[in-house]
């Protein structure tokens, strides 16, 4: 990411050469995400989102569900985060995986 630079008009009215636009992740770009929440995620969630779930429960610690969201746009990532929130699963991490 290029650091933010403001274009200031020079005395003659011309603009400084603008910082080149480099496209990054778009709202519609499909990328895989890894989401980790505390709690035991039920298989029923598979009906709702295109995900795979791995649950681990080290002895003496609360269970952790790792959710792999296949190629997803922002609407589906946010959709699942909202649902996890609504169902009371505390979020541990959200990670974008390199495609």
């Amino acid at each position: 990411m290029t650091p933010l630079e403001r274009a200031e008009p020079q005395a003659n009215g011309a603009y400084l050469k603008p910082v080149e636009y480099t496209p990054g992740l778009g709202m519609d770009t499909l990328v895989p995400y890894l989401i980790r929440v505390q709690g035991n995620l039920d298989a029923i969630w598979l009906d709702y989102f295109a995900i795979s779930i791995v649950v681990s429960a080290p002895p003496g610690e609360p269970p952790v569900s790792t959710i792999c969201l296949q190629d997803s746009d922002q609407a589906s990532v946010l959709g699942i985060l909202n649902s996890l929130y609504d169902h009371g699963f505390p979020l541990l991490s959200v990670e974008r995986l390199e495609a």
Binding site: D28, L46, D47, F49, P62, D86, G88
Partner: protein, 902 residues
């Protein structure tokens, strides 16, 4: 339910809309698939695309725009039904009826009714739910999931949402039942950007700039639209714009939006700031906010803004509402808040509220007042609109909706809201919760020095209404009469529902002190005196008449009045219609016309989510007994499950008590005395129960004790029967005397006093002949048959007695069916565990899961599990409801006798 019409209007399409055939084609599969998801961030042109597609769709379609206020199952359901009724007027009757009841219907019942209703619709149709991401209420997600679980032939659901909805999308996708349009589909391609800019800007744009815009906006419709706006302004801005947007400092839309808005005239800027506070508005409402007299000018401005695509016009072709594009609204609202002080903003909300109120949009008027911080005035508006809603006998869930808008500390300190709460408690049949509320209302009234005399008087009337109702159900006739005769006239004429009920209770009380003529005169005059256009007051009085005839055992008159009541209520009022069916059921059951009785009770039971709670509950119980009397044991068992389920949902202590009594009576009919005895010895009985409903449990206890055939039980039973009989006499309840004399006869008979037994039975028969009671005797079993035969030998009322004997199984000799009684758990209410009680107490203190977890030293997840259990047991969906129900139900004290029948 009052509904905002604008929510059903779809966006008007811009003249210069660029056709996007590839997307329209993609959407065409929505005509064949049950669910379509259009999921993308704001500004991707979801609504526009769908509206455009609908123009060409071969199927009829309907539109519903959702907002944050729709997170209420009942309200959402009402909108959903109304939206579908836009295509099929008058359809979806059973779902509509459910939603018109005085309480939120159980999710399952609503989902079933909707599924069945929709399945019956004659043609396929498209239902668009726009802005579905506004919905957070899990119950609504569940409702929709249920609807699409097994695809309903006629329904094609189209959801426009910013984030994927919590619906089983993955499953639908796998089954090939989901049509999907996502951000990557919606983004403008290079070719589309080119066409779009050419059309909207109206001049040539260099291909480098087109490419730059497409790349930089990532084909984001809203950004392209604003860019086009700017480009339309002048030729020299093209390169300037291109330069500006080719930078990487993000927030492209903010930049574009700022530029677009900055170009508007001061007049328009003022309009922006003022209207941005409202979710939507008409030209007229806009005038009200702007203090503008020039309506034509406002209309012109709004149309211009629509053409500039700053406003979205929602229209049904006649009326037009406007809303801002979502991104614009957020932007403007921030500006308005920065620009105006709080007082100014509050004043704007107040103005909007006045406009809504003037146009009968009461819910919106209340919401705007709350936004203005005028809670006190909002509470007054609620109170002003309470009686019109109560009178209507439908859409009463509005009252709970309005009440729920207020923070509970405020509600507790506000007279109008305490009164509102009392009405809620009363129509939900939880009158046990009334006394502290009445005390609170009186305290607040004493302190309310600012009230004018007329308001004070009508509130005194309302408080008296609840006091009289309590006194009535507590058998305190002196108090009922005193309060009613003093305060009845305090109730304004237009409080038809309240007046009708109060007068009914009064007349019934007069009957219990043997002022029968006065009671009848009062009711008759009230019927004549009703000058209102509606028949609502009359309906209440007719219910009063019916109870009167029931109490005095005049079953023929009861049937006559109930039939008129049925006719009167068929058109309008399901709440009172239930009473008509209930009374007809009772009379026909007593006459041993079991099939007719079952029909009537069933009709009442089917209306249970709509009609009066108490009458529906009783009807379900009697339906079960009728089925058992018909020998249909398995049907009776099914009805029993329904009764348990319905009782669970209602969470009224009085109804739980009744349900258990019904179960015991069924056990007796099935010959399972042990089960009935378990109940009869573990429940505490009122020694002076109310003779209309409550005494039924006492009668069942007496019969149970009798049937144990143990001398000590029979002696106890005799004693209690005599005491109750004395009480029934003192309250002039003929119907109950008939039943008690009969039980008395059996007790005496069991103790070997046959002659006294026959005397007692003769008394019963003497009172019962006029009404033609049959089932009262038949249900008392073979020993009663024997006594009746002896009575016949004495030649007492021989025709009548023979009529009874003919109705006994085998015409007077056979035994009752001994169908085995299954010992299922009667989980009418499942008690909360100690831990759940603890959690509940914390919930009542409005603590978060985390706080509770800390206090109880458990994990938040466990707290969640406990709250889920509590919700399940209390039959609620939220914390607020859980605490409310627990408070009203008084979880700890098991039975609060007495509750209003209305």
């Amino acid at each position: 339910m009052q509904l905002a019409r604008a929510k059903f209007y779809r966006p008007r399409l811009a003249h210069e809309l660029v056709a996007r055939p590839r997307l329209l084609e993609q959407l065409d599969s929505a005509n064949t698939k049950p669910v379509t998801l259009v999921s993308a961030p704001a500004g991707y042109g979801k609504s526009t695309l769908i509206a455009d597609w609908l123009e060409h769709s071969p199927l009829p379609s309907t539109w519903l725009s959702l907002d944050e206020h729709d997170n209420d199952l009942n309200l959402f359901g009402a909108y959903l039904v109304a939206a579908i009724q836009c295509i099929f007027p008058g359809a979806l009757q059973s779902a509509a009826a459910l939603l018109n009841s005085s309480r939120t219907p159980p999710l399952v019942a609503l989902a079933n009714a909707l599924s069945n209703d929709i399945a019956e619709l004659p043609t396929s149709f498209i239902l668009v739910l726009d802005d579905y991401h506004m919905i957070q209420e899990p119950a609504i997600h569940t409702l929709l999931s249920d609807l699409i679980k097994s695809p309903l032939e006629p329904l094609h659901l189209v959801l426009a949402t910013r984030t994927d909805a919590a619906l089983p999308l993955s499953k639908l996708r796998a089954a090939g039942q989901l049509c999907e349009v996502r951000a990557r589909d919606l983004r403008f391609t290079m070719a589309e950007t080119d066409v779009f800019l050419r059309c909207t800007v109206g001049k040539e744009i260099s291909s480098e700039n087109v490419q730059l815009l497409q790349e930089r906006t990532e084909g984001w419709a809203v950004a392209l639209r604003f860019a086009a706006q700017l480009l339309r302004q002048g030729s020299d801005t093209q390169d300037h714009l291109a330069q500006q947007i080719s930078r990487n400092d993000s927030q492209l839309t903010d930049y574009l939006l700022y530029e677009v808005l900055a170009q508007q005239s001061p007049e328009v800027k003022e309009l922006f700031l003022k209207t941005s506070l409202l979710p939507q508005f008409t030209a007229e409402l806009c005038d009200a906010l702007m203090d503008s007299e020039d309506a034509a000018r406002t209309r012109e401005l709004l149309q211009e803004l629509e053409q500039k695509e700053i406003l979205v016009a929602l229209t049904d072709g006649q009326e037009t509402w406007y809303r801002y594009h979502h991104l614009v609204q957020d932007f403007l609202r921030v500006k308005a808040i920065a620009r105006y002080d709080a007082a100014r903003i509050a004043e704007l909300h107040r103005r909007a509220s006045r406009w809504y109120k003037k146009h009968g949009m009461i819910t919106e008027a209340i919401q705007e007042l709350l936004a203005a911080g005028d809670l006190k005035y909002a509470a007054q508006i609620v109170h002003e609109n309470l009686h019109p809603v109560l009178n209507r006998e439908e859409g009463r869930s509005l009252i709970a909706l309005w009440f729920g808008f207020f923070p509970s500390e405020f509600a507790e300190q506000t007279l109008e809201l305490v009164i509102t709460k009392l009405w809620l408690v009363s129509i939900h049949f939880r009158l046990g919760a009334a006394p502290p509320l009445i005390a609170r209302a009186e305290e607040l009234l004493a302190a309310a020095t600012e009230l004018d005399d007329a308001s004070r008087r009508s509130i005194l009337g309302e408080i008296a209404y609840f006091k009289a109702a309590l006194a009535y159900w507590r058998n305190n006739s002196a108090q009922t009469i005193e309060i009613t005769s003093h305060y009845y006239d305090y109730l304004p004429r237009e409080y038809e529902f309240a007046r009708g009920n109060m007068l009914g209770h009064y007349a019934l009380t007069l009957q219990t002190i043997e002022q029968t003529d006065r009671a009848l005169e009062l009711l008759t005059n009230a019927l004549k005196d009703d000058h209102s256009d509606s028949s609502r007051f009359q309906v209440r009085i007719m219910v009063g008449f019916a109870f009167f005839y029931l109490n005095v055992g005049e079953l023929r008159n009861l049937v006559e009045i109930s039939e008129s009541l049925l006719l009167m209520t068929k058109r309008s009022s399901a709440i009172s219609q239930v009473f008509a069916y209930y009374f007809l059921g009772l009379a026909h059951y007593e006459w041993n016309q079991l099939e007719l009785a079952a029909q009537h009770f069933n009709s009442a039971a089917e209306l249970r989510y709509i009609g009066n709670v108490k009458a529906s509950h009783e009807s379900l119980g009697y339906l079960m007994l009728t089925q058992q009397a018909q020998g249909l044991s398995s049907a009776a068992a099914e009805t029993f499950q329904e009764l348990v389920h319905f009782t669970d949902e209602l969470q009224s202590g009085a109804l739980i008590y009744d349900a258990n009594a019904f179960r015991a009576r069924l056990a007796l009919m099935q010959g399972n005395v042990d089960a009935a005895l378990l109940w009869a010895t573990s429940v505490s009985f009122d020694s002076k129960p109310h003779m209309v409903f409550d005494v039924a449990a006492n009668l069942t206890r007496l019969q149970t004790l009798l049937e144990t055939r143990k001398p000590e039980n029979i002696r106890l039973m005799l004693e209690e029967t005599q005491a109750l009989l004395a009480f029934a006499k003192s309250t002039h309840s003929t119907r109950r005397q008939i039943q008690l004399h009969a039980l008395h006869a059996l007790a005496l008979d069991a103790l070997g006093k046959q002659s006294a037994a026959l005397d007692a039975l003769a008394k019963s028969i003497g009172l019962a002949e006029r009404g033609g009671f049959v089932r009262t005797y038949v249900d008392l079993g073979t020993r009663m048959t024997h006594l009746l035969n002896l009575l016949l030998a004495r030649n007492i009322a021989p025709d009548y007695v023979q009529q009874i004997l003919a109705a006994t199984p085998g015409g007077g000799t056979a035994k009752f069916s001994q169908a085995p009684w299954e010992k299922t758990d009667v989980r009418v209410i499942e008690p909360l565990t100690l831990r759940e009680m603890e959690v509940l107490e914390h919930l009542a203190q409005r603590q978060s899961d985390k706080e509770i977890a800390r206090a109880l030293v458990i994990s938040p997840l466990t707290v969640k599990a406990h709250t889920d259990h509590i919700y399940h047991k209390l039959g609620v969906n939220s914390r607020r409801e859980a605490v409310q129900v627990a408070k009203e139900f008084g979880i700890l004290d098991s039975h609060l006798p007495g509750a209003l029948p209305n």
